[in-house]
Symmetry: C2
Subunit: 235 residues, 2 copies
């Protein structure tokens, strides 16, 4: 008796040790740098052992990334209650920008890498990622703005609005991650571009374009996340 609980706990702890070892490699050096042999070395087990805890390498890394991102996005939820819908909209965007810029390797795996070939039979199965929750929350914020009559008369599709704001911020972030090191483009500061994009999109859709609120300070405190460290991006 009781021992089955202990077993389960030990199993969960082992799982976490694997994830922590993988996280250190992934966060600082990216997906390719995460090697089952390296992770195994790190926790002093043999590579095959990892397969007792994860289906394969991809499942392991994705578990890690989804955990981390869900944790980051969860930190902004509390402030939602005490803000107007429009403030929520802006806060959400700013949080998303910082998340992408601070954790480029996480961002890359989640939003810049197709999970599977579109025709793959496993395709349906793997589509239950928790990131959906964040999107759902964002969508509901947009819907509130629509319901409050904040947008132009011809803009009633909250889904289209949400997807467009998402795409705009994603464009700035992902282009920065992929091409930000190419100095032939003479990039403007990435946070300036992100804010410019954000305001352009929101003001372009508002019925009464608002004065830009003092959100999104360029120097914003880093958001807490497990084992948060500076990341560099790898090819």
């Amino acid at each position: 008796m009781g021992s089955t609980e202990r077993r389960a706990r030990e199993r969960a702890e082992m799982r976490e040790r694997i994830l922590d070892a993988a996280r250190n490699l992934f966060a600082s050096e990216g997906y390719e740098a995460v090697t089952l042999r390296k992770v195994a070395d790190c926790i002093e087990y043999c590579p095959a052992t990892i397969y007792k805890y994860f289906e394969d390498k991809d499942a392991m890394v994705r578990a890690l990334v989804e955990d981390d991102i869900a944790m980051v996005m969860a930190t902004i939820q509390p402030s939602m209650a005490e803000q107007t819908p429009l403030e929520c909209l802006r806060s959400f965007g700013c949080a998303y920008i910082e998340m992408g810029l601070e954790r480029p390797n996480h961002y890359r795996l989640m939003f810049m890498t197709p999970l599977l070939p579109v025709d793959d039979p496993l395709f349906r199965k793997k589509r239950a990622d928790p990131q959906t929750d964040s999107y759902g929350l964002f969508l509901s914020v947009v819907q509130e703005c629509v319901d409050a009559g904040l947008f132009r008369a011809d803009i009633t599709d909250a889904c289209l609005v949400a997807q467009t704001i998402w795409a705009g911020l994603h464009g700035v972030i992902s282009l920065h991650i992929a091409c930000g090191g190419n100095d032939t483009y003479d990039w403007r500061p990435v946070r300036d571009r992100a804010i410019f994009m954000h305001d352009l999109l929101i003001n372009g859709m508002l019925r009464v374009p608002a004065i830009v609120l003092p959100t999104c300070p360029s120097t914003r405190p880093a958001m807490p996340v497990a084992a948060s460290l500076p990341e560099s991006v790898t090819p």
Copy 2:
């Protein structure tokens, strides 16, 4: 005599045969599916031979992708002369959207994949890609719009404008490539979103928001490109 020219020609032909074999694999199945052994099989040479023509796999695939994209972007250049700056701006965006949607694997490698870790010593060396030319052309079009006084008084930085329009379109395209298969998001049609984004950004910056011009038809003829075929995206 003359034989050195023939040698050079034969060398170039061999190079093209390698690129063509690689292109077929890459366009339909993505980067990971391009294997030096498969390419070598395809052209009936041994894998090591490829190294006489390309530094490594990455150089081979990038050569192929850059060729193809440069060819696509070159097709829009002729129409530039007979259009107003604003029309050029829109045409450019539309061409870019179609290029990304029709050749997702090309797009992914060029704009969604960091070339090298940012600190890498080889970093500087590899930064002479021809895509820069397209960006330069686009930038000059934006500059024309600025000079013509089309934009708001506070929008004078052509570079910021170009990078923002690019990022907006890139956001729609890349999010479609990476997450377009995830139907939990209830995506609106990708071309609708791209046009919505395009108009929102341009109109948001114009001094006098324009009526939307009849560009960007949803059913646009495919642009010609070497060995153009439908692509699927792989993880």
